[in-house]
Symmetry: D2
C-alpha cells in the first residue's frame, strides 16, 4: 500500500537506499521448479551496470547479485525469491549542500513535505539505484515467460534527435553505447551528448520496448488492462513523464480507417494486417508484438547554478556536483525491458488462474 | 485480481454489460459522515450522458443513478456505497453480424480468445457504458477531496487540430459541445467533425485533465507514484493509447535547465517558477496543478467495409451500423476527470494513513 | 481495504444494509464458461432463508436472487458476476429505543465510536442479512470447485448439548430444523430451545463444516495457509468467537504420537491413517476431508431488560423486541458452507496460477 | 498472493529458509519519524531466541538482527524497513532420512505434492525459524502503536494442565521458562515436560495474548473484522490448530444474558461490566482488553518410530533425530504477541485512513 511492491501474482517488493548497506528484492509467487542461478540474473544486471561508458554515471559498482532465498539445488522452490546487491561504492563525501537544499527536478522537496525526514545521501530511495532490483526481478520474470517470449528495448530519441525507423536494426542495439537501433543516429547522438556534457547540461530520451511471442489473452477488459498496467510500470521508472502503446499519441490525429487494424487468415490463424494498437485490444494481448514507449526527462542534476529554497525556507541556489548521467534515459532501457517482463509474467499467471 | 476494481483505500468495483439489466458500482472505504445525495452524483452523470449533441452517440438513456447502500439520512455511513443505473435503451435488434465477426479495433477477437465466450450485444463489458459508473465513483471521490480541490478537463486536440493555448479559457469549456477551452478551435472542430461524420469515418482526440488545490505529499516514491497511478487510470479508459504528465513527451527534447522547475519563496511558502513536471516530483505531488493528458484513438466502429475474420476462422468483411460517436474522445472528458478524482482520493487516504 | 471484500482471485464484495432497498454481491475472477442460472444460486439461498421454523427469525423474505451481470446465454462470461436480492420485508416500526441505546453484545457502541453515524434499522450493515450474499457467492464458488468437491455443514452443539459422534448420519442433517447429524440430539435440542425461547433467553452453538474431495496442494506455507484463511472466513461470520481445524483445541492436550497423522500406501496412493489435522498440513491441503468448526455466541438480542448506555452518554436499560432467532448459530450452517466454498475456490485458482 | 506477506497498510513480507544464508523481512507502510534502533528490535528477538532452557530447541543462534533499509539517523524514513538475520548454526549433517521420507505431522508431503520440490534441510520455509522475522516486524508494530498499547502473552495450558486463573500474575510470566502466569503450575509443567522429554514424546499448549490500551474503533464490520484478522494471524503460526476471542468456545454453552456484556458509565466514559467478547464487538474494538487464545499442537517431531511413505511412494518408517522443542507452544508466546501487534498496527493505520 505504501507502494514498494509491484504486481499481483508475480509480485515483487524492493528495499534499500542508494547509500545504505544493500539493496534487495523479494519476489512472491514464482512458480516452482524453474532452473535459476545467480549467473542467469547477473547477465541482465550487467547490462544495466553503471560506469560502462562516458555517457552514463561514473559510479562504479560490481552490482553482484546474491540469491538468498527461494532457490534450492538449482531450481526455484515456489517460496519467496530474495536477492540482494551490496552497495560497495559509498564514497564518503560532503553532503552539506544537498542535505539542506531542494534540488530542482528532484524529489527532495516532496520527500521532506511528505515524510518530514529524508535520506539525502545520493537521493536515498529515489535514486535510480533502486532500478537495479527491478532488473533482477525482470530476469526471473523472463524465466516465468519462457523462451517463447522475447523482450527487447531500444532508445529511439535523444534530445530532439529521433532514429530513422527505416534504418532499424535490432543487432545494432548492442553495438553502441546508446542502445540505438539506427547505427547512423548513434554517431550523431555521440556528438550531441558530448556537447551536452561539456555544457554541463543534460538531455532527455524516448525508449521503446517490444515484446514478441506474447500469448493471446493476457490482460483484462477494464481497470487492469494489459496496457494500463504497462503504463503504470513504465511511468514508475525514475524521470519518466509519458507512456504510449502502439502508435500512441499519433493515433489521435489519424482517421478510424488507419487506427483499427484489419484482420485476415494466414494458414489457419487469424492475423492482423498492421499493429497500430501495439498488440493490445480492449486491454487484452492480440498475439502481435506488444509495443510500449516512454519519455524520460533530462537528468535533473546539471552543473549550472539553479534557484531553489532550503529546508529552512530561505531562497538560495544549488549547483550539483558528483557522478551523474548526462542522459539518464539511456540506462532506462534494461529497466523498461524488466518492467515489461514483470507485467507480462504477472498477467500470464493471472490468465492461467482464471482462464487456464 | 480479474481487474474490475480500482484503487486501494478508496476502492471501487464496477459491474454490468451494455445490454444487461443494469450497471453498477460499489465503493469501499468512503469516509463516514460526508453529505451525499443522488442529486450530487447525478449532476456529474449528466455531463457524460450520451445523446447531447450530434457529435456524440445517439443512444438516449436518462442514466438515472440510484444509491442503494452506504448513505443514511443524507450522509455516508462508512459502509459500502453502492450505486446503480438501469439500462433502459436496449432496443432489440439484429446482432447477426457482430455476433460472429470480429470488428477491427474492438475487443471482440481478444475477448473470444481469452474467455471463449462474449456478450456481443453492444460490446458487453467493453462498452464505454461502463464509464458511467466511473463518473459516479468520481462524484464521491470529489466529496472525499473536499471543496479545496478542483478538477477540470478539456479537449485539446481533435484529429490533427490542436487548441491554441494562448486562447485557453476555462469558461469556454462548458459552452461548446467539444469541451474546448479555445472558442475559435471549437468552431473549426465542428466543421471538421461534420465532414468526418458524413464520410462515415471517425476522429481521435487528446484530453487534458487539471487538478488544482491538490495537497502536497500525495503519492509514493517507487511503484505507486502519483503519476504511475494516473497513467494506469487514464490508460484504463476505453480507446486510450497514450498518457503524459506535465510536459510529457516534449520534455524528452528539452535540456535539463528547462525540465527542472526552479523554486523561490512567496510569502512564507516555497513556490515553483514553472510546472513542466505537471505537479509531481519523484512520484509525489508538489502542490502545483496536477496535469495529465491522454490520447484517445478514433472510434473503431466506422461506416466503411473492413476486412476481418469471423469466429469460424473464415475471412470476411464487416460494416458496422448503429449508434456511434464520430469522436469517442469527446465523451472521455468527464471520465478522465472522474479517474483523476479517484486517484487523488485514494492517495489522500493513503497519505493520511501513513503520514497523517 | 475497508473490509467488504473477501478472497483474492475469487474475490467478492457485498453491499447493502438490513433495511435498505437491496443487498448485493459482485464476484470478480469467476472463470468463464461455467453453466450458471439463478435457480442454481436460489437453491442454496433457500436453505438459509429465514422463517423456516419457530427456531429461526420470523422475518419472512422470499430472498429471490437476481443475476444482473456476468452471465450470458447460460454461462459465466469471466466478467464481474453481480447478484442482488431486494429487501421486501422492511416493515415500518418504531426504532426509538435502539436508535439511541447501545444494545449489549451488538455492534451499536463500536459503530457509533468508529463512524459517528449508524443505520440503526435492523442492525444496518451488521445484520445477519448480509450473510445471504455470502451464500450466493458460495453457490458460484461451488461451480468453480466442480462436482468433485462436496461441502456439508452440521450443528454439533447447541447450548451445552453436543451431538454423539457415534450417531453421526449426514442424511439426518436435512431432516430436522437444527441441521443435526444426530437425530436423537435433534429431539433434545427441540425441548431445550423451546425452554430458552419461553424464557426470553438465547443459546449458542457450534457448527462443523466438512469439505470432501479437496485437491491436494491448496493453500500456502506461511501467512495464507489454507487454515489461516478458513479461520478468517469463519471468524468473519456474525457472532462467531472461535474457530478450530481438525481436532483443534483438544490437540493441545494430546501427545505428539496422536497428533501427527501417520501414512501408508493404498493402491498406488499415499494415504493417512487418521485426520487429526483436519486435512491441512503446513497450511496446505492433504487431500483428506478439510474440517473446520466454529463457535457462535448466543443471540445478543434477548427479551430481558439489560443495563446499557445511550448515545448521550446516560445510563439506561434496553429490552429488545422484534424478530430474533433464539439461536442464531442454526442459520450459520449454510453461511459456513458458503465461506468454506469461497476459500477453497480462491485457493484453487491461486494454486492453478502458481503451480498449475 | 503466494502468501508470504501479512497486513495491508502495515504490510510485511518475509523470506528465507531454515538453512539458507539468511532470513529477512521487509515492512512497507511504516510511518516516518518513529525512533527505531537495532537494539529496540533485538530486545524482542532475544525473548524468542532458541536454546534458552532445556524445554526449547537446542539450536543456538545469536539471531542478531540488522536493519538494512528504512532507518536514517535513528528514525524511520517511511520507506521500506528491511531487516535480516544471518543463519549461523547450519551444522552440516546427514539429511538422508528426512530428505526422502515424509515426516508425519509435518508439511513434507504437502510441499512435495504442491511444488514438486522441497528444501528438506530443517523444514526449509516451514521451519519455525521464519517466526523470528515476525517478532522483528512485531517490534516495529509496537512502535507504531505507541506506549499506550501493551501486549502481553502467557501460556495457559501445557498438555492437559491448565493454569488457575485465580492465581494469574503477569509478573510471574517472565520468571519461569514457560511464560506461566501461575507460578505453581509452572512447577507442575516442569515435571510433566521432563517426563515427556524422557519418553521422547511431545506436548501441546494453549497461549493467550492480551492487548491493553487498544483504541476504540479498530477493525471493520464484515470480512476484515479485527477478530477475523486476529484469527488469521494466530492460525498462521506454525502448528496452531484453533483460535478463540474472549470466552471463545465456552460462549457456545452460555445463555445470552452472560454473553452480552452490559454497560454503565464511569466518570464520563461508557464502560463494560464484563469482557466475555474479548474486546471486540461486531468486528470493532471496544477499548477493553483484546484477548486472543490459540492452541498449538504437540511438536510433530518425536523420537519414536512412525509409519510413513517416502517420495518414491513406498511404505517406510521414520524416526526423527536432532534438535527439537518438546513443546513448541512455549516459543510461540513472543510470536503470538508479535502477530497481535502487527494486526493492531495495521488496523490502526486503516482506521486513520478512513475515519481519522
Amino acid at each position: 500500500m505504501a507502494g514498494n511492491s509491484f504486481g499481483h501474482l508475480f509480485r515483487f517488493t524492493t528495499w534499500g537506499e542508494s547509500h545504505g548497506p544493500e539493496i534487495g528484492v523479494v519476489i512472491d509467487g514464482v512458480p516452482p521448479r524453474l532452473p535459476l542461478s545467480e549467473a542467469d540474473v547477473q547477465a541482465w544486471m550487467d547490462r544495466r551496470k553503471p560506469g560502462q561508458s562516458r555517457f552514463t554515471t561514473q559510479r562504479r559498482e560490481p552490482d553482484e547479485v546474491k540469491i538468498v532465498s527461494g532457490v534450492f539445488e538449482g531450481v526455484t522452490t515456489g517460496t519467496p525469491l530474495a536477492m540482494i546487491v551490496e552497495n560497495t561504492d559509498q564514497r564518503s563525501r560532503d553532503y552539506g549542500d544537498i542535505m539542506d537544499k531542494w534540488r530542482p527536478g528532484h524529489a527532495d522537496f516532496t520527500y521532506d513535505a511528505k515524510y518530514g525526514v529524508r535520506d539525502y545521501r545520493g537521493g536515498g530511495r529515489s535514486s535510480a539505484r533502486e532500478t537495479a532490483m527491478r532488473v533482477a526481478a525482470g530476469a526471473v520474470a523472463r524465466k516465468v515467460l519462457g523462451d517463447g517470449v522475447t523482450i527487447r528495448g531500444a532508445v529511439v530519441q535523444i534530445g530532439p534527435y529521433k532514429v530513422d525507423r527505416g534504418r532499424w536494426d535490432w543487432t545494432e542495439v548492442e553495438k553502441n553505447p546508446f542502445w540505438s537501433p539506427d547505427a547512423q543516429m548513434a554517431g550523431e547522438w555521440e556528438g550531441f551528448l558530448d556537447g551536452v556534457r561539456k555544457q554541463g547540461s543534460s538531455a532527455g530520451a524516448v525508449i521503446e520496448i517490444v515484446a514478441s511471442g506474447v500469448p493471446i489473452g493476457l490482460g483484462s477488459p477494464v481497470y487492469d488492462k494489459l496496457d494500463s498496467d504497462l503504463a503504470k510500470a513504465m511511468m514508475s521508472i525514475n524521470a519518466v513523464k509519458g507512456v504510449e502503446i502502439g502508435d500512441g499519441f499519433t493515433l489521435a490525429a489519424e482517421p478510424g480507417e488507419t487506427a483499427a487494424d484489419e484482420m485476415r487468415v494466414e494458414g489457419d490463424t487469424p492475423v492482423f494486417l498492421s499493429n497500430h494498437n501495439g498488440g493490445v485490444l480492449g486491454g487484452i494481448s492480440t498475439g502481435q508484438d506488444v509495443v510500449a514507449r516512454f519519455a524520460v526527462k533530462p537528468t535533473s542534476s546539471i552543473m549550472h547554478e539553479r534557484q531553489t529554497v532550503d529546508r529552512q525556507g530561505q531562497e538560495t541556489t544549488v549547483q550539483v556536483k558528483g557522478r551523474h548521467d548526462p542522459c539518464v534515459g539511456i540506462r532506462a532501457v534494461p529497466v523498461g525491458e524488466a518492467m515489461m517482463a514483470c507485467v507480462l509474467a504477472d498477467h500470464l499467471l493471472r490468465h492461467k488462474a482464471q482462464c487456464g
